[in-house]
Symmetry: C3
Subunit: 652 residues, 3 copies
């Protein structure tokens, strides 16, 4: 079902023919073909062009555009246009608008201004999707569909009023059946929060003293995730019926965290994501230092990009994914939006392939003359000349990028319940789930190791040489069971906050580790949230090597495990910082060098080769090929070879 | 009426039996007894457990819990549960919800979500308090009551709509009688603000250009303070009638500033406050440097803690107070929430006693498994094991801590009208009333001197050797009269901004000093608000000693006083910075070293011994005992003795 | 029509007799006369004093006040009191209140709380203006009028609801006639924004993901500007009819940017502005460094002040302007509000004259005892003593300050459409239109050159030796034509982003330079938004001189021009950074030293003398006099002469 026919990486582009005069279309399509592109993504945000007013349709322009691309041999990826309900639809049904955390109803004039829980809007989406699918669903050159656009992005996953507020109590009733169960799950005994009627329950915004119940907030996040899942399913059902044998996918976003991707992606054929490496570092990676942000301002940081690749490859259990929007010049939405370095577009494309992409779609064909994205670049400039990325794409030879498997032997465990619960009560304003997760991910990548990022339940599907759970703070009986089973044959390394909460976000009566206490052989002694000016020393007992931890330290009481590292100073001096019991280790202290040293030793034990890579240089393997990626602007000498700045090469 | 029978410091704990299974209660009570605790505080936030729905009551659990504690010989401090009106009550009377400064009505799901001015809610509070008092008011082991919880905390003192907005004009009519008087008091001639009908007057939020009239805002603060006073009085009246011979108190908060504590505490038997030394430094003391926040991250700063002790001791004229919640492990609400140093719980407890506490109640017994305080510690861990504080409490011997008087000979004058007026127009974004106040307080404490913090009208009750008024910017005729009387026998030292405003927050026609101009013998020359990168040099005329002032400098024209210090540079070069006339000095420049040098000299003159204390080390006296408190993590050598880090000892 | 009779600078003062007892008036007026003041500005914000309740008038106090001033020979500048509709009027017509960007209706209690689009409020303003004009319009000593006060200041130019929201679609219909035209102009094809009915269109606030369409936002800014223009015109019409032969002016504000001053000032006789040099640096010039803010904390920065002078002189084509409010002591509205240095008031007054002021009005006569401006100073202290500024005004000899022409030979081009469009999509969070503009302005002022700031269409009115367009990003056909015509005889230097957008804020199909591409002889290669930690090197090809650029760099493809400077490193290495074609140069890199070097060379070629001025020292010429202004606190040696700190002197 994928676009490419010859089992190598395919390239495509996002195009918006409705943004330029029809007279330009043929010329554009010819250039796309010349460039080696195989498909165009079309019709995203096009609702108002298709249905300019209620029930009045104009398909001609889209028919013509498709015909023009197809005439050049290009394939078509169609989008449902539901991320942008038109003005007339908002005028007709203002109740579909989302409500923000301050209680204000959103206004028309941007995108994603709807409440996913709205039945009216779901019906409207079903209607327009049906019409599109009827018209194009069996078109010979339409190879697949993208639903909506960047679901939940930019704070749009959650609506705090309207349809969502109305539906939340019903969703809770389905989940808990009785208010007793809900009151217990949320710990409503605290602060007199017990509910005596379902309709008393609100979204968790605008509470006095701005502290909502975290279990309520956790369930609201789940509810909103389910609403997104249901919202998309309406379209999936239509498309499956009316556009058989075409792929269905969705373009997810950087460091997505507003909904459960495993669930929302379940009925898609594969996932796609939108990769903007520069803004990823500048805007999203709030925990990165100014120095890192400066050094990699023109390439992005290799680990931030590959983390997303590995995450999305794992969402569907290792299946190839697409890059549905690949930055190919400057973007427009970060605080600063520098030009990419020369070579960066090729570097990103090769990296995407190495981590499992089967297709890379550049965003966008021609820079917009108008509206919110005037300052965003494309492969063509606004006046139609080739921009910098154009030449890089032209010079990029895809023939070596065969679509073999990515064979990672190390797995990082990830779960959205843990992400939400962690971030709802971080206990340290500089910490969050992704930050902690990235410390483990980067340690592995600095060692030159390929990793899968998977949900714990995927442990049942594949055997790994090493499993790492950086921040698995919510542990259900099912997860506990997967972990226990896994540990029988494979070392597992846990990070701080492991198994601190149950499924409702409460701490179990047994306290931290609860269901896996036997597995880890420890109890929590204390956790310690450090202000950024403080650090704690940790010593490896055997070698007396010292490490410096920041932000978060946990200490453990041993109930079967050994302490491999202890705190040297501070209130937890002399207490275990890292423990081991058989296959299972727990790292309690956030220290990059400590984490790396433990992972390196563990990798050695399971026979996975590690490397000492220069800063900004990474190894990524796919099939038999190992790529050496240099994200530095300058040349780097490594193991006798000089790697040019901003380059990829095959390791001999 | 106090819990202790043997005239030494009593210890107790806050417990929430409704948060754990009843099967745990006996075990908990036994451990509490073993630990030497004398009482538990109960039923705070318990409304929904007592009255799960409208008019349906469940007293059994509380009866049983009380019986369990009492069986172990523990006494009971009961709380009215009014800080958390239940969901059904909000559903029935949504109009009791408070409205925030942005005009949004608060939602249920946290605490303190009500408007103190609401008659409906006052009636509901009267009802539930009556029922509780009828049931437990004469219980032999119920020794006293806490009203509500942390009144006005976390921004909940003020509601900008609903009942408060409706009642404000009536309150103003009572205060001013005529609109002419109000228009004059508020200076409504400015910007055409004159009112011609009472109901035209609104709360001072959401004004255009976000600048409300400061006199209106000052009166709104007074109004809200009065509403809190009235709100609490409803409960006091019930409890006095139905629970005779039990104490009534309230747990006030750190650096409370939202209402007039002297008025709100008037009808209580004694005051209590909730002491969290670590968050106090990290979260509340916004003016402290990063270095100070780092050095005292695990103990809190001694002066911040003792300031609150001295303030609360003074609220009821030197009467012993309680610590109703004493941090005994990490808290959860600051930006960072580190573990306390080993010994800190004992240090805080001893310090509280030394400054006049008769009882210290640890918060909380067992860490919560649920809801907003999951990340907060207790004496027990969530799984029931003893946490770090438990051992410290166990090892703490209260027998030496006899409840003698604190005999301070120096008074610092404090008044909420000055606090509000100062903070409404700080004229320098880094300055506020408490910041300025603490510069004087810390100077005295660094000199090893004990201080009372009192309202000026308390000058009539006790004679002091030295009186200091750090920031008394609002001076009424009554206050002027107290000051004038006091100065006849006792030196007074004033800080900047003294007597700048009258009772309505206006400047008198006579300008600064107005009613006490003869007393101080100066007129304002100029005030100067310095950006943080600027400083001004001040020279002591006699000795040519130089000091460096920051943030705020005032200069004075002499009309009877002498200049003891003058500015050396800047626009006020050569003009008086510090003046003296007989018993009265005025310090115009904010410089810690300058303030300390003047206070030291003044103390010498009145025969109060001063000390040169190392950083982080303090002396506190009660009765015949002088405690040496070392808040440093490291040992300190002083006067030939080594004081261990984080420790208290008796000075020989 | 101007106050002065002897063709030298006149001085006056803003007074509010309604703020003090009538018994003080005579004394005040006598002192004003003694001080050499010629007029007082009266009645600003006085509506509630004139009409205390609906239809009830009190003119007596104002009649008396005027008589008192006139008795001392002072002239009167009257104000319409419309910036502060009284409480009774708001009570009667709450619908005139403005709505903020968060959707909240403003409350009474401050100033400028009205919506300029409200017909009801316009009628009320017409009514009160008519009554005032009938009473005072032909008074012999009333020399002129100020309309309202500081139109649009402090975020009040824009209301996001009420009358503005209702009128916006109608305004759009007038502008575009058809929705097709609007949809095309705004690029509504983007994100499905096409409108099918006028009433679907809203103000551009509260959009989802907080990104409104920039063309919609640009038009909303224009609409609000037009509403202000119409709002003021109502008053102008009344005053022209009823107060003939009096001047009409308005007091505009520092770095005004919320409306089109050229249009709003069109029917005024001259413009006035309110000069607060210290807050201008501390509060408005967000781009200035901490070091600059410290060094000039007590004088303001010379270029920020003179920029406003030159801007306002240009608004009416070089006509003398007034300072309607001149800071004469500390103000109260910046983050920090230090005292001005000794001499600063004289320095500012002399500087204002040198840049074209015919009159300087000090704000305010006596410091307010009350309300929002208690912390603001006046010429008199609150208690009536002379403050520091009083003495400076007294010692200031105006006789040398003859009202000759300012003869600038260099013009800087400015346009509000460019300002708005630039700031709506800055693409770099540290950049804005004024920041970029000031880099060019300061370069010229550091070279000792006088400049006019004019709208491009004013090029038709006067010939210049050199024209500089720092940030002319919106270029209409009319502007293109003026530029093309101008370049025939005069060198033009453009800054970055030139001609990037058309009148609707879109990029033309031809891309950047569009209508002036032949003139500049280049196409855009790339623009590059630099984070503050990055810089790019630029080399002058001929001399190999290197410059360092920050924040923004553009590179150019040559289509007729030569490259005079190229980038040395980064993604644009080797590409043109500065180009020249005949009379026209384009500077693409933001580097103060680069800009200065190019301007210096260009000035040399057209025979304008340049100077090497020490930091903080400036030259300003009017008629035959050249003032040397030293804004440093310290003495400066220059060309053999020592200039005292904070001083002005005549260059020999």
């Amino acid at each position: 079902m994928v676009a490419t026919s010859n089992n190598v990486l395919a390239l495509g582009v996002c195009d918006y023919p409705e943004h330029v005069p029809a007279s330009e279309w043929k010329n554009h399509a010819e250039q796309q073909k010349t460039l080696g592109l195989q498909y165009v993504r079309l019709a995203e945000f096009s609702w108002a062009k298709i249905e300019p007013s209620d029930g009045i349709y104009d398909w001609q322009w889209l028919d013509d555009a498709i015909a023009t691309y197809v005439a050049q041999g290009l394939k078509i990826v169609m989008c449902t246009p539901t991320a942008t309900p038109p003005a007339w639809l908002i005028q007709k049904y203002p109740e579909i608008l989302a409500v923000d955390a301050q209680g204000q109803t959103m206004k028309f004039g941007s995108r994603r201004h709807y409440d996913h829980a709205s039945d009216i809007y779901r019906q409207e989406c079903k209607r327009i999707t049906t019409l599109m699918a009827q018209r194009y669903g069996q078109h010979a050159d339409v190879i697949g569909w993208q639903t909506d656009n960047e679901l939940g992005h930019e704070g749009t996953a959650v609506s705090y009023g309207g349809a969502s507020a109305e539906r939340f109590p019903k969703w809770l009733e389905t989940r808990y059946e009785t208010l007793e169960a809900l009151n217990e799950a949320w710990g409503c005994a605290f602060w007199s929060q017990d509910y005596s009627q379902w309709q008393q329950i609100c979204p968790p915004n605008l509470t006095a003293v701005r502290q909502p119940n975290p279990s309520q907030a956790l369930d609201y996040q789940r509810f909103c995730s389910d609403m997104i899942e249901e919202f998309q399913q309406v379209q999936i059902d239509v498309l499956r019926a009316l556009s058989p044998n075409r792929f269905l996918t969705h373009n997810f976003v950087i460091f997505a965290q507003e909904f459960d991707l495993y669930k929302v992606a379940k009925n898609l054929d594969f996932v796609a994501w939108d990769s903007y490496p520069i803004g990823m570092l500048e805007f999203f990676a709030t925990w990165e230092s100014e120095q890192t942000k400066s050094e990699f301002a023109r390439t992005g940081h290799p680990d931030l990009v590959s983390f997303n690749h590995d995450l999305y490859r794992g969402i569907k259990g290792g299946k190839d994914f697409w890059i549905m929007e690949q930055q190919c010049g400057h973007a427009n939405w970060a605080q600063y939006n520098p030009l990419p370095a020369k070579g960066a577009v090729q570097l990103w494309t090769a990296q995407a392939w190495a981590h499992g992409a089967s297709s890379v779609t550049y965003f966008r064909w021609r820079a917009s003359h108008m509206a919110q994205e005037i300052m965003h670049s494309g492969l063509l400039q606004q006046d139609g000349r080739a921009d910098r990325g154009y030449q890089e794409v032209k010079d990029f030879d895809t023939s070596q990028f065969v679509l073999e498997k990515v064979n990672a032997r190390v797995a990082l465990l990830h779960d959205y319940n843990s992400l939400w619960a962690y971030n709802l009560q971080p206990h340290n304003k500089d910490l969050n789930y992704w930050h902690q997760f990235m410390m483990f991910y980067s340690a592995l990548r600095e060692l030159g190791v390929d990793v899968d990022i998977i949900h714990p339940e995927q442990l049942a599907d594949k055997e790994y040489a090493l499993v790492v759970a950086p921040a698995l703070t919510v542990v259900t009986p099912e997860i506990a069971s997967y972990l226990t089973q896994c540990a029988k044959n494979c070392p597992i390394i846990f990070g701080p906050r492991t198994a601190f909460r149950n499924d409702s976000g409460r701490v179990a009566d047994k306290g931290q580790f609860q269901l896996i206490e036997d597995l880890v052989g420890i109890k929590l002694a204390n956790f310690d949230s450090l202000r950024p000016t403080l650090s704690q020393s940790v010593e490896q007992t055997e070698t007396s090597t010292e490490f410096s931890a920041k932000l978060w330290c946990e200490s453990y009481e041993l109930t079967g495990a050994n302490a491999t590292h202890t705190y040297l100073n501070g209130p937890m001096a002399g207490v275990a910082a890292v423990t081991n019991k058989g296959n299972v280790s727990v790292i309690g202290a956030l220290s990059g060098s400590l984490i790396k040293s433990i992972l390196k030793a563990a990798l050695g034990e399971v026979g996975i080769e590690t490397f000492t890579l220069p800063k900004g240089m990474r190894l990524s393997r796919r099939g038999d090929i190992t790529l050496v990626l240099n994200f530095n602007l300058h040349d780097v000498e490594w193991e006798g070879t000089t790697y040019p700045g901003v380059s990829f090469s095959t390791l001999n």
